[in-house]
């Protein structure tokens, strides 16, 4: 893959309910990314927006943000899915020979719709939807299967939640900044057995944007880029009954490709920081395995070992992850931003010392059906 990197990032503070419109959030994220990159909108050659019609309550959800995303007299398109896929597309466009720089921006206002109904709508209308299944109840199924298969316990899930909430306290963008204990998690309100309140990510409003540039476009920017060393996306099968919910072959396939591109053979050793999609606490353990950080079935061992804590060998989710702020769709893009800040040494109180190589991860579809990963480096 030719050289391509991230030269600007911007994100709004993530909150339970923001008064701004979609367009205002997008403008805030975009102007933030442009300011960070030290350029104006005229230096952006094309734009990719990320939004979802159900989450926005608008068919053609992208229409609301065209002005705010800088579409005027530019090529622009829209990915409907997690921001990590928007970033993939933005990167492809910067490598296509047609554009040197791409602005990618994602937005969502979880506060404006009904999350249960919106995620229920991703289930097949003929055979599944009437069960009332949604993101959380399907996640509960997956969590339960994982526990049965691997012997992971609810306390193991709680350890993830405790770690990430503790990390979130250091992230000024995070919605939830609250130190908690395993006991707090275990005692928190049951949402969908075995998932309790602190096992689940919150409902969030926010937006985030990144500026991607190929090598030729780099001369417009003053800061050193964070290079994209490898990137890949893969989708698993759809019907929950067809998939083995206790493993993530799609994630394995995606990292195999991305690690190959980046020349990584031992991710646990070679990566300095990981930002993954912990929509629910148990997912972090599943993704440890998919990312090749822990052997199959041994995700719980890794959290117990402390290796993924801030002072461990490979900190995971120093930002607090999705458990502290889950703007749907923006999620993967925010992970890319966090990984970028880490490599630049601009992550403030949540900085992992000497971070040179990072992995950012995003998911789409029920129970983490599709995965996208970016390996970033200095």
């Amino acid at each position: 893959m030719e050289k391509v990197g991230i030269v600007g990032v911007g994100q709004t503070k993530y909150e339970r309910k923001k008064e701004d419109t979609f367009a205002e959030l997008v403008f805030e994220a975009c102007t933030g990314a442009l300011a960070d990159a030290g350029v104006g909108i005229e230096d952006i050659d094309n734009v990719v927006t990320v939004s979802n019609d159900f989450w926005d309550g608008r068919t053609i959800s992208s229409m609301a943000v065209m002005d705010a995303a800088g579409s005027w007299d530019k090529d622009i398109s829209t990915v409907e899915g997690d921001g990590v896929f928007g970033a993939m597309y933005g990167m492809m466009r910067a490598l296509s020979g047609s554009f040197d720089t791409t602005l990618v921006v994602a937005h969502v206002k979880g506060s404006e719709g009904n999350m249960n109904l919106i995620t229920n709508a991703m289930f097949d209308p003929i055979f599944q939807r009437q069960l009332g299944i949604d993101a959380t109840s399907s996640a509960a199924l997956q969590a339960r299967s994982y526990m049965e298969k691997t012997g992971a316990t609810e306390e193991d899930f709680a350890r993830v939640s405790v770690k990430n909430h503790g990390n979130g306290v250091n992230n000024p963008f995070a919605q939830i900044q609250k130190k908690i204990s395993v006991d707090d998690v275990m005692k928190s309100r049951k949402i969908s057995e075995p998932l309790k309140l602190f096992d689940c990510s919150p409902i969030t409003d926010g937006a985030a944007a990144i500026v991607i540039s190929n090598e030729k476009g780099m001369k417009r920017f003053k800061k050193d880029p964070v290079w994209i060393l490898g990137a890949a996306h893969i989708s698993d099968s759809y019907t929950l009954g067809y998939r083995d919910l206790t493993s993530s072959p799609a994630l394995e396939a995606a990292v195999k490709k991305a690690y190959g591109m980046a020349g990584i053979t031992d991710p646990l050793k070679e990566l300095d920081v990981v930002e993954l999609a912990d929509v629910y606490s148990y997912m972090e353990l599943l993704w440890y395995e998919g990312l090749g950080l822990a052997p199959k079935g041994k995700g719980a061992d890794l959290i117990r070992s402390g290796a993924t804590a801030m002072d461990g060998d490979l900190p995971v989710n120093p930002s607090g992850g999705l458990l502290c702020a889950h703007p749907v769709l923006v999620a993967g893009l925010a992970r890319i931003i966090e990984a970028t800040l880490q490599i630049r040494g601009e992550a403030g109180d949540r900085q992992v010392k000497g971070a040179n190589k990072a992995l950012a991860h995003g998911i789409n579809g029920p129970c983490g059906q599709a995965h996208g990963v970016f390996v970033l480096g200095s």
Binding site: E2, T59, M66, T78, M92, H233, N364
Partner: protein, 397 residues
């Protein structure tokens, strides 16, 4: 930097008002199977997939995840692109960029819609701003009717001009086995006779003056798929690949109220960009065939002007002179166009596919006879957005 890319295969389902015999996943699969057969490839040969439709027409969230077993995306890279009416062309452009980036050699673009599964106008209304536009809008028809009213007022264009466009689309569709609307009764009748019939018939209901039923596009259940291939493999797959010479789009507007009602600016600007990139100075002369995304008849007059095929107000002349008929200098919509088949997520992609098969000389009974060096396809949707893609016989320099 960047690979050259060509279309090497195209498949579509036959347009129908309602395909109760298949669910969405199955209709997608039909188009995919057809496209792969056309390219003589298997799903294993496909390196990545892009899919698009408009969510609220079927009421399914995360369609790329839901349909993966039909699209062939299981354990492949796949995501969804959606931009309203331009979805199909945005999907085509996305597949093009996948291959142009050098990361994927063979990319499948899929567009589909089962319009029968929902209330089209109701769903379209939700595209518009809930505060400023939804309370009074009348769906797509109203937005198009107002454009037509201004065009008529500016240039003295008449109902007969609009009807003449509709007649052309219907006659062209008779050559297209996939078209949804086949007005067999029109066969063998004189054009002038048909125009007269359309403007005087009481059964041809006026929806919003000057638009009558005959001026509008249908609602179709359909799916289409196009295979894009990078220059590393394209020539091994297709005897005459349809090379993507240039592509550009403009989605400048958020509110209908901001539009310039005299000129379709986005189409003008996107076309200008494509012609500039391709080195085309005289579009009417240099382009051999055009699949113009025309959701209603008057667009076939006004938008031809905005693309630059003729000057302002000259659209009717181009039409009545026969320039846009099958044996004219610039045949428009040999497929019968959107007015003969409109499965929204697929529609703009079908324009690309139909333009491609003209270049590839695979258009069968709707093949333009003359040499096709350049075929232009356009997409339209949303707040008067435009996508333009120019395909060519010769590999770009």
């Amino acid at each position: 930097m960047g690979k050259r890319v060509a279309v090497v295969g195209f498949g579509q389902t036959i347009g129908r008002s309602s395909r109760k015999d298949v669910n969405g996943v199955e209709i997608i699969n039909e188009a995919v199977v057809a496209a792969l057969a056309d390219a003589e490839l298997t799903i294993d040969d496909i390196d990545a997939i892009v899919i698009g439709n408009m969510d609220h027409f079927e009421g399914i969230n995360y369609v790329d995840s839901w349909s993966v077993e039909g699209s062939g995306g299981v354990m492949k890279p796949i995501f969804k692109v959606t931009t309203g009416g331009t979805t199909g062309s945005s999907v085509a452009m996305c597949a093009y960029y996948h291959a142009a980036s050098g990361m994927f050699d063979r990319v499948l673009a899929i567009g589909w819609e089962k319009n029968s599964e929902s209330d089209t106008t109701g769903a379209i209304i939700t595209a518009f701003d809930p505060f400023w536009e939804r309370p009074n809008i009348g769906g797509a028809i109203a937005g198009l009717a107002v454009e037509a009213s201004k065009y008529m007022s500016n240039y003295g264009v008449t109902e007969r001009d609009g009807a003449r466009v509709a007649v052309r689309e219907r006659l062209h569709a008779l050559n297209n086995p996939y078209a949804h609307l086949h007005q067999e009764w029109m066969k063998g009748m004189e054009v002038d006779q048909l125009v007269e019939l359309l403007v005087t018939s009481e059964q041809n209901q006026v929806l919003a003056y000057p638009l009558r039923m005959s001026d509008m596009c249908p609602r179709t259940d359909g799916a289409a798929a196009v295979v894009f291939a990078s220059e590393d493999v394209a020539e091994k797959i297709a005897p005459i690949p349809a090379w993507v010479v240039a592509t550009a789009n403009r989605h400048d507007y958020v509110y209908l109220g901001d539009l310039n009602w005299d000129v379709n600016e986005t189409l003008r600007d996107a076309s200008r960009k494509v012609f500039e990139k391709a080195g085309i100075k005289e579009p009417l002369k240099e382009i051999d065939v055009c699949e113009l995304y025309m959701p209603y008849s008057y667009a076939g007059l006004k938008w031809m002007e905005n693309i630059g095929f003729c000057g302002p107000g000259e659209g009717p002349k181009l039409l009545w002179d026969g320039t846009t008929d099958m044996d004219g200098e610039l045949p428009v919509n040999p497929s019968g166009g959107v007015m003969s088949y409109n499965a929204i997520g697929a529609t703009a992609l079908i324009r690309v596919g139909e333009a491609a098969i003209q270049v590839m000389r695979k258009a069968g009974t709707r093949q333009v006879q003359k040499d096709v060096n350049y075929a232009l396809s356009t997409g339209f949707g949303g707040c008067s957005w435009a996508d333009v893609m120019l395909l060519g016989k010769n590999k770009p320099a």
